[in-house]
């Protein structure tokens, strides 16, 4: 089954690589956004699906990556190929600090603490006007000329997101992924097998946070701006809904969730004012009617 998924994923990447041939700026923008959220949601699923750690503050790392990259690029004139890795290192450092505290707690307490840290990051971004532009946003982010067109930026995103997804796939299917699942199922037993459970969870937290940071950096470059909203809890909730909607028991489920939710958002543009309400309805419907998400539905159909 997983091998088939990989083949399918490779085919999707190959098809996407041809998308610039369509010449449609609309499609290029749309799928750039989809790709970014595919990565964001998949990174969160390493925590939710594999580790069983429900983070309500994952957007914090999305924002740190985004602001980090943007500020280095514009305020300090650091070239992109340096600014991006530096932003990722920065995200990893924050993920280490925040994660070290969060994984000390379990279940609801873990979730509450991630929520609190997410809001803290938002508050810092919001208040630190001289650095971040506060609620006016951080604007006029200029990408280097080689990724200046919709097509070249799309391809840049496609390459990075594909590489990141491959890395996440390897992590999820490595001994680490298996160990995370074991801890999720029976933390006491895992400890008595000799697993330093907190350390393993922390490493997962750092990996998840760092890839969310990459998604955030791409998001800032894509929009040429970034706003405090990107750290706000609603952003964390949205990516969480992508994960739940797509299916957290499957590696590619959250990717499907990201695609679906973004397409839904586009189809209901007139309803933008009601988007949070719509999100809530989608979440409720998912939880009631297909709790293992779209991926779960597909799997069930495939089995029949």
């Amino acid at each position: 089954m997983p091998r088939r998924h990989l083949l399918l994923a490779a085919a999707v990447v190959a098809l996407l690589a041809l998308l610039p041939l369509s010449g449609s700026t609309y499609l290029l923008y749309l799928f750039t956004q989809v790709l970014i959220f595919v990565l964001f949601a998949t990174s969160l699923n390493l925590l939710i699906g594999y580790a069983g750690l429900v983070s309500f503050g994952h957007a914090a790392f999305f924002a740190i990556g985004g602001y980090g990259c943007a500020i280095l690029l514009r305020s300090y004139g650091v070239p992109l190929l340096l600014a991006m890795p530096a932003a990722l290192v920065m995200t990893a450092v924050f993920a280490t600090l925040i994660g070290a505290l969060c994984v000390r707690l379990t279940s609801y307490y873990f979730s509450m603490l991630t929520l609190a840290f997410g809001q803290l990051v938002w508050a810092v971004v919001f208040k630190w006007r001289s650095m971040t532009g506060g609620d006016d946003g951080f604007l006029r982010i200029v990408s280097p000329s080689w990724i200046d067109t919709p097509a070249s930026f799309f391809l840049f995103t496609l390459v990075l997101v594909t590489l990141a997804m491959v890395a996440l796939w390897i992590v999820a299917h490595s001994p680490l992924g298996r160990t995370l699942m074991a801890i999720r199922e029976n933390q006491v037993r895992a400890g008595f097998l000799g697993v330093h459970t907190r350390r393993v969870q922390l490493v997962a937290f750092i990996i998840a946070g760092t890839f969310a940071g990459l998604a955030g950096a791409l998001f800032a470059l894509f929009n040429r701006s970034i706003f405090p909203d990107s750290a706000w809890w609603l952003q964390s909730a949205e990516v969480l809904i992508m994960v739940v909607l797509g299916g957290m028991n499957s590696f590619f489920g959250p990717a499907v969730g990201a695609l679906t939710l973004i397409l839904l958002g586009r189809l209901t543009l007139e309803l933008t004012a009601f988007w949070p309400a719509l999100l809530a309805i989608i979440l409720i419907a998912t939880l009631f009617f297909f709790p293992s998400g779209i991926a779960g539905l597909l799997k069930a159909r495939g089995r029949r």
């Binding site: 992590v171 490595s174 001994p175």
Partner: protein
């Protein structure tokens, strides 16, 4: 080898383990017996770091275990099973053992080494506990006795020097109990593992243990060879006229 010194543990005023001391020598098969509620499981939980004692200490080969987290205790050569089965119920038997081996080799962060590399070792462990046939079965669907065997496999995977088994045969039929005890003693002798265990079947205990400690109301009231313990007055009082299971 394993030295337990004056461990005490109270639960909101109730003293479950009271100044308990015992010594387990290398190669011993040491049984801890006592009526239900005597504090046997609590004692094991204190030794393995699952609970933190109010006072007292545990050393393994002179190294202090008290205060260490479970994973650190395990790394120092101690393995355990649980009275209440504690395996990964939603994983297959194979995956259960696989994760135990990953933990034993500290390979949690080896991203490049695929999980499939240890086929022979897993097969060997499953054979040891006689679960070869069930490799692909989800642990939650195993019979109770087989889950106990899996529990044993998980404890053995870490290649412990000292193995603590808390009622390894609880809930088994007399025949299963006998088979299981024979299997455990065989494994322990083959591997040169020191065994500390609790067991309710007195015939079994006196049949295989070379040391026995008796726990009563959390205190060790006797400790010695089976003959010494059998002849001990305090022990006779505790067990007098009372069926032992």
């Amino acid at each position: 080898m394993l030295e337990v010194r004056e461990l005490t543990k109270s639960f909101s005023g109730f003293t479950a383990v009271n100044q308990a001391s015992l010594t387990v020598a290398e190669g011993d098969i040491h049984a801890v017996i006592g009526p239900n509620g005597a504090g046997k499981s609590t004692l094991f939980n204190l030794i393995t770091g699952h609970l933190i004692p109010d006072s007292g200490e545990v050393t393994l080969k002179g190294e202090r275990l008290t205060g260490l987290a479970p994973h650190a205790v395990v790394r120092r050569g101690l393995g355990r099973s649980f009275q209440r089965i504690s395996v990964f119920l939603r994983m297959t038997v194979w995956e259960n053992v696989q994760i135990a081996l990953v933990a034993k080799d500290a390979r949690e962060f080896c991203f490049w080494k695929p999980l499939q590399n240890e086929k022979e070792k897993i097969a060997q462990l499953l054979e040891t506990v006689r679960l070869e046939e069930e490799a692909k079965v989800v642990a939650g669907e195993l019979s109770y006795g087989k889950q106990k065997q899996l529990e044993l496999a998980l404890a053995l995977a870490g290649e412990p020097r000292v193995l603590l088994l808390d009622e390894p045969t609880a809930g088994m039929s007399p025949r299963e109990t006998e088979e299981s005890i024979l299997l455990i003693t065989k494994i322990v002798k083959e591997r040169g593992v020191t065994l500390l265990f609790t067991e309710h079947d007195m015939n079994m205990v006196f049949g295989i243990a070379n040391r026995i400690s008796v726990l009563h109301h959390g205190a060790v009231i006797a400790s010695g060879t089976p003959d010494e313990v059998r002849g001990n007055h305090a022990v006779q009082e505790v067990y007098l006229g009372r069926p032992t299971h």
